[in-house]
Amino acid sequence: MIFEVILYIFLGIGVFFNLLGSIGLLRFPDVYTRLHAGTKCTTFGSIFICGSVMILGIKMWYQGSTDGSVLTIHTAGAIIAILLTNPTGAHAIARAAHRSGVKPVKAVIDTLAKNDSKKNKKEKQKEIKK
């Protein structure tokens, strides 16, 4: 009983955040805000969906099925894979978008571009000295 209540709550949270992430991906005006919606919300929702599957596995394990332990451990592996890969990919996309020249909408100041141009000037001066 208590397993099923927690399982349904986790499923509801996961599907709600996945829907929010998709709608934000459709509605936001900019690459960076779309990245904000489409990566963080879907990571959070996918973690909760995998958590509900883990609770299903624990329930099957508690009832004496041999598949339950395998289901729980492999879903924990899926959670670890999502946690390791998803923020790294989002950071790489954001850096690539900034360096390929996409500006944020309504941006007033861009400190990262200043830092990049300073680094480029220093590297060029070093090359000239050599």
């Binding site: 499923l11 996961g14 492999h74 996309i93």
Partner: protein, 96 residues
Amino acid sequence: MDKEDRRMIEVFNEFFMVLLLLIFCIIIAIVRVIRGPTAPDRVVGLDTINTIVIASMVIFGAASKEVIYIDVAIVYALLSFISTLFIAKYLEGGKF
């Protein structure tokens, strides 16, 4: 009732409804991939689709009580991470 029919009925449970909602999320993200004005928009859409596909593979493994789909989800997560990094490196330009 033989074994095949029982299996077909067992798949239609609450996890299957969640799977339909996740497919709706994937369709919304596909609209962004088609409409995206610049290339990084499309890459963001593809990254979102990859994450939702991982979640729906885990949900389908729970709905049909098969562990092999969850292993497929782990491998899909790692491969889609590599493809996202490679596309980002290509957009950034410069040396590899």
